[in-house]
């Protein structure tokens, strides 16, 4: 899912475009009405000049003015005009509506797919990339749907309308005007080719420039303390110059191929019409009204051309963005699925790892042949340094990942046999990072779960003693949680996170203990809360606190994915290994404290 800007081939571009268009099928009815109104509106708008032509040729030139037909003509003109306004307003609005719905569908689709992916996906993929797909890229596609797609359809219908009217008026001249189309097409194509290159370079430089600026603002303290202001200014100015040069080039290209060129083309078209009628006039009288109408139509013809050329870059960017988004939609990396028949319930909470081996990338083993059991209501503590495999044990137990070898049993049944819902309900994981969501405190305890009532949430908070500080907040449980829970202390966030887990009343408690320093007062609260939580539950803990370790029924020392030492407090003491040393040291300290105290 890396952000790579490889050049897309024409074939790929066509495929992406087709897929973008395929989203139209979900809004057939709306789009049908929009198309109908578009056709009606365009028709009503384009018949106007024909009416004026009729007036000029049939009444004005011969200077005959019968009242009734003229009033009819005027009324028709006005009615058509008003109805064109009406039709065009709604077709535009409905096209927009369909476009917005299409992009919403796509957004929900990407988000849904991302949310359903297994944790392995998130562990390997930079979150910045995923977020950028979901936000920036879909926004680009929105621009395409809203500004380009409907415009293309509208202009296409408009062109057809204009040529239909021209053919109605004068087939021969209309055929001549048809020759303009390839010229317009060549112009469009040439501009597209060069602008992709020039604007690509320019926007590349701009994002480089902005990245540099952003970085400099964040690292200003470093720039200043190392006295590199002058050098950084110079480098920035150079980059700024490069961007300016690229911009100027793009501007020159626009000047050569956009509006000025199209305007020139419209003069050529005018020459065509004048020349045609001029030659006709040598032999026979001409219809001034037809000439008027042609001039009028050609004038209208070129504005959409200008529009289309101006929006080519949106189209280009949207295709690139859509390529990335579709890649994410197509990416399939689900969480490990349920296997085996049956739907067992977790009633006791006995855990057994049998010769479990695991690696994230199939090459570097993270866990090697791990076996242990935890009986109902027991506490097991893992100790070991970073990278020893402690977190992987939890990832496997929570079934975020599947072991490569060996088996994990829960209440005697293989883990894979349980439904995901059952596992999530009965295995309560308390994470190190107590992530807070925006919303209020209560919502953060319930965490979207409809089954948890307010009373249950409050009770859970009471159990972990989070109740005391929550009550003191303005609004109590309805107190809003700011961005990432920034207003709460680490300890308070931990307590809310505990309450979140307790609200589920899990059979098994999985603790990923925080290493962060917490002030003594909250620390005591947390210890007490943990005591309550552990009682009557099987607990598996990645432990950093000595108290947690000492109170555990079993202690497992992990080192480089292997169990180095295991046993309960007494057994480990008798081994005279690490645990023995730790214990002696602690005893010694107490002794020392007594003497000096």
């Amino acid at each position: 899912m890396e952000h790579t800007d490889e050049q897309l081939t024409t074939k790929q571009q066509t495929r992406i475009l087709k897929r973008l268009l395929s989203y139209m099928k979900f809004h057939k009815v709306l789009l049908f009405w929009a198309m109908l109104f578009l056709a009606l509106g365009t028709g009503a708008e384009l018949i106007g000049p024909i009416l004026i032509q009729t007036f000029i040729d049939d009444y004005l030139t011969p200077a005959q003015f019968p009242v009734e037909p003229l009033i009819a003509l005027a009324v028709t003109y006005i009615i058509l005009h008003v109805s064109a306004v009406f039709f065009n307003y709604f077709q535009q609005f409905w096209f927009d509506k369909a476009a917005l719905r299409m992009i919403q569908r796509m957004r929900v689709e990407v988000f849904g797919n991302v949310a359903h992916m297994g944790l392995s996906f998130f562990d390997r993929t930079a979150t910045g990339g995923i977020i950028s797909r979901l936000t920036n890229d879909t926004e680009r596609i929105k621009e395409f749907y809203v500004n380009v797609l409907s415009m293309l359809v509208q202009n296409f219908v408009f062109f057809i309308g204009i040529f239909a009217a021209m053919f109605y008026l004068n087939v021969q001249l209309a055929l001549f005007c048809l020759a303009l189309l390839p010229v317009v097409f060549i112009l469009l194509h040439t501009y597209r080719k060069f602008s992709a290159k020039y604007y690509g370079r320019m926007s590349g430089k701009l994002s480089e420039l902005n990245a540099r600026l952003n970085e400099s603002i964040q690292g200003m303290a470093i720039i200043q303390i190392f006295r590199q202001e002058r050098r950084m200014r110079r480098e920035f100015a150079e980059l700024n110059d490069e961007h300016h040069r690229a911009w100027l080039k793009g501007m020159k290209l626009d000047g050569l191929l956009l509006r000025p060129a199209v305007d020139f083309l419209s003069i050529i078209a005018l020459m065509l019409v004048i020349g045609y009628f001029g030659i006709i006039s040598f032999n026979s009288p001409i219809e001034v009204g037809v000439l008027y109408a042609f001039v009028n139509y050609l004038e209208r013809f070129f504005e959409p051309v200008n529009q289309m050329m101006a929006r080519l870059s949106i189209f280009q960017q949207a295709i690139v963005a859509a390529g990335r988004v579709f890649k994410l939609i197509d990416h399939d990396e689900p969480a490990p699925p349920k296997r085996y028949e049956g739907n067992p319930q977790i009633t006791r909470g006995r855990i057994e790892f049998k010769n479990v081996s695991f690696s994230y990338d199939q090459t570097t083993p993270v866990l090697k042949n791990i076996s242990f059991t935890i009986d109902q209501g027991e506490t097991l503590a893992f100790v070991g340094h970073t990278g020893s495999g402690k977190s992987s044990v939890i990832n496997l137990l929570m079934r975020f990942y599947e072991p490569d070898e060996g088996e994990i049993l829960l209440d005697g049944e293989p883990l894979a046999k349980y439904s995901k819902e059952e596992l999530r309900k009965k295995l309560g994981l308390v994470l190190q990072d107590s992530h807070m969501f925006s919303g209020d405190v209560l919502e953060n305890i319930q965490l979207y779960n409809q089954e948890i009532t307010e009373a249950q949430a409050v009770q859970a908070a009471e159990t972990v003693r989070a109740d005391q500080f929550i009550q003191k907040l303005p609004g109590g449980y309805r107190h809003p949680v700011g961005e990432r829970g920034g207003t709460f202390s680490t300890g308070e966030r931990q307590l809310i996170s505990f309450a979140r887990t307790m609200a589920l009343n899990p059979k098994v408690l999985v603790l990923d203990e925080a290493t962060a320093n917490i002030d003594t007062e909250t620390e005591e609260l947390i210890q007490a809360a943990l005591e309550t939580m552990k009682s009557g539950r099987t607990t598996i803990a990645i432990a950093h606190r000595l108290s947690t370790i000492k109170q555990a029924d079993k202690i497992v020392v992990l080192h480089q994915g292997e169990i180095q030492e295991a046993g309960n407090h007494e057994e480990l003491l008798q081994k005279e290994g690490l645990y023995y040393n730790m214990y002696v040291l602690q005893q010694g300290r107490r002794l020392e404290a007594k003497i000096s105290g």
């Binding site: 509506k97 303290a221 999530r424």
Partner: protein, 589 residues
């Protein structure tokens, strides 16, 4: 329109470009009056059967050259006017950047990076638009609009002109009205969109929690609801947006109708010819753009003025920390005499530091210990004058630090910050950041001292490996050690470690500190840390708690007291043994 006055200095500076550009714009306006005129003349010739082959050829050639000339001038005025406007963007960007490099830490505490970026991107774009498109629309709507109306009135009929123009002011008014309404609704829609983005950020950041509780479906439902809201608010934008085109075509249509209706009367009375009527309708078409432009002009100018106001305000900010009291440019040596009675960031806040006193001779090491928020970083910042306003005195080399120019003062400092900030450049560039002309050998030596050389040569491109988004992802410890190498390379008089060893393991920490002791016996080093092992060898250790010095002394003297230092030291020793996972051969301190 006041913004044009605000930008007058720039127009004066670029007067050649603007004057030439505006003249060309006027020429183009005049040129665009010719084709309708020619059409009128030719039509009349045709109607009267007076058109000859030579006549037709003549007019067609004229038409062609008018078109060609218009093409060339249209190209050139763009280069002149738009060219000048993008030079303004470049100028403002450079000015802002330079200004940023002069601002002190307080400025960056007050202003969010996102806001500063917004000034440097959106606001500059709005000003550039004013100086380019704004000038264009102003000049064009006045000249083209004026010329067309004059031509219509003078060469055809002023009565007809007046009658047909009646609906057009309504067009300018309505489009301007829609424009401001659209702007308001658009802002609401943008806010909804950015709140959707926040939700995405939050969901992805909290995905582990969501998955732990199996609440993905609820998360998706919430996302769906929020994206519904985005659609709703965008539809409100569309309701207005869809008004533009129909309104324009309607009002233009009414104008045409009036022109033909009354024009026909004029033709019958032989006040004008039928050819003139045809020209007249084409002229009418030419007026659409100036009218619309006039409507837009207000929006462009309004935005430009607000943006330019914000940029000017930013540029007017003065740096808090200056060379005002400096009287020497000689970089100080590392002798500190510090007597801080109190320091607070804002006068109404509680003091962040209280009663901090110590002396440090050249070549000595100061260790600062304490919890997060105890005031360690503040003390460091005060010592290198990244913050100022202390009640008390900080002297370096027997002189108050304010008496050194910032440049001189900073020459003596090497700083390793807490947040391991590296630039998006190669590792070598990062290490040589403070001395861009350093030799490769110097870079490697610094990296070796910081114990990161081994890591660097492991990378495929070694020292040329790119850091940051486009390059390799470094671990926290690697970043930290590169930041250390960066500070070591300049061999500073005073080296500052602001909790800069937090992400390296105990063994690496020990070898870095050992290397420092060897290399820097003559120079001053200041280390703040969570882990006491990092300051064990310091000559003076300060234990800070809530901005106060609770213990002060050497490791030995502090271990003799039964205080916070000893307790924490013992506990950390224990925990490090646990973390080492059974390396029982180690020392327990």
């Amino acid at each position: 329109m006041r913004v044009f006055l605000d930008l007058w200095w720039y127009f004066k500076r670029e007067k050649t470009s603007y004057i030439i550009g505006i003249i060309m714009l006027m020429i183009v306006s005049i040129l665009s009056l010719l084709p309708p005129y020619i059409v009128g003349v030719v039509v009349d010739l045709m109607v009267e059967n007076n058109l000859t082959v030579e006549g037709l050829t003549f007019w067609l050639i004229i038409l062609f050259f008018v078109g060609l000339a218009a093409y060339i001038f249209r190209y050139l005025w763009r280069i002149m006017i738009f060219g000048a406007s993008i030079r303004l963007a470049r100028l403002l960007r450079n000015q802002l950047y330079e200004h940023f490099t002069n601002m002190s830490a307080k400025f960056y505490q007050r202003r969010k990076t996102g806001d500063l970026m917004a000034h440097a991107t959106n606001d500059i774009r709005a000003v550039e638009q004013t100086a380019g498109a704004g000038v264009l629309t102003l000049v064009d709507s006045l000249t083209l609009g004026g010329f067309v109306i004059i031509t219509m009135a003078v060469t055809i009929s002023w009565e007809l002109t007046l009658l047909s123009l009646l609906p057009l002011p309504l067009l300018a008014f309505l489009t301007n009205f829609y424009g401001s309404m659209l702007h308001k609704r658009f802002r609401v829609a943008q806010a909804a969109f950015s709140s959707l983005n926040d939700r995405v950020q939050e969901s992805i950041a909290g995905i582990r929690v969501t998955k732990t509780f199996g609440q993905e479906k609820a998360d998706i439902a919430a996302f769906q609801a929020e994206s519904d809201d985005v659609v709703k608010k965008n539809l409100r934008v569309s309701r207005i947006d869809a008004l533009f085109d129909p309104t324009i075509t309607f009002i233009i249509g009414v104008s045409y109708f009036l022109a033909v209706y009354f024009g026909a009367g004029f033709v019958i009375n032989e006040d004008i010819t039928i050819g003139q009527l045809t020209s007249f309708t084409i002229y009418l078409g030419l007026l659409v753009w100036p009218m619309l432009a006039f409507g837009w002009l207000f929006n462009i100018v309004e935005r430009g003025r607000a943006s330019y106001g914000r940029i000017s305000e930013l540029l007017a900010e003065q740096a808090e920390i200056t060379d005002e009291h400096a009287d020497t440019t000689k970089p100080p040596s590392g002798r500190f005499d510090v007597e801080i009675h109190s320091f607070r960031y804002k006068s109404e806040d509680d003091p962040v530091l209280n009663d901090v006193r110590f002396q440090l001779k050249e070549g000595e090491t100061l260790g600062v210990i304490g919890r997060t928020g105890s005031g360690k970083t503040t003390l460091m910042k005060l010592l290198m004058r990244e913050e100022q306003g202390v009640n008390g005195k900080i002297s370096l080399d027997y002189r108050s630090i304010e008496r050194y120019t910032l440049d001189a003062l900073r020459t003596s400092f090497g700083y390793v910050p807490q947040d391991q900030f590296l630039f998006s450049a190669t590792i070598a560039d990062n290490i040589a950041f403070a001395k861009p002309n350093a030799t490769m050998q110097e870079v490697i030596d610094a990296a070796k001292l910081a114990c990161v050389h081994e890591d660097i040569v492991q990378f495929q491109n070694g020292y040329e490996t790119f850091v940051g988004e486009r390059g390799v992802t470094l671990s926290g410890g690697q970043k930290q050690r590169i930041a250390i190498a960066r500070a070591l390379l300049v061999e500073p008089e005073i080296l500052m470690f602001d909790d800069s060893l937090s992400a390296v393991d105990a063994k690496t920490e020990e070898s870095i500190l050992e290397a420092l002791r060897m290399k820097r016996s003559e120079r001053t080093t200041i280390i703040s840390a969570h882990r006491l092992s990092a300051v064990k060898h310091a000559d003076v250790i300060l234990v800070l708690d809530q901005g106060k010095v609770v213990e002060q002394g050497t490791h030995e003297s502090l271990m003799k007291k039964d205080g916070w230092y000893r307790e924490v030291y013992n506990q950390q020793q224990l925990e490090s043994i646990v973390a080492e996972g059974g390396d029982t051969g180690g020392t327990y301190g």
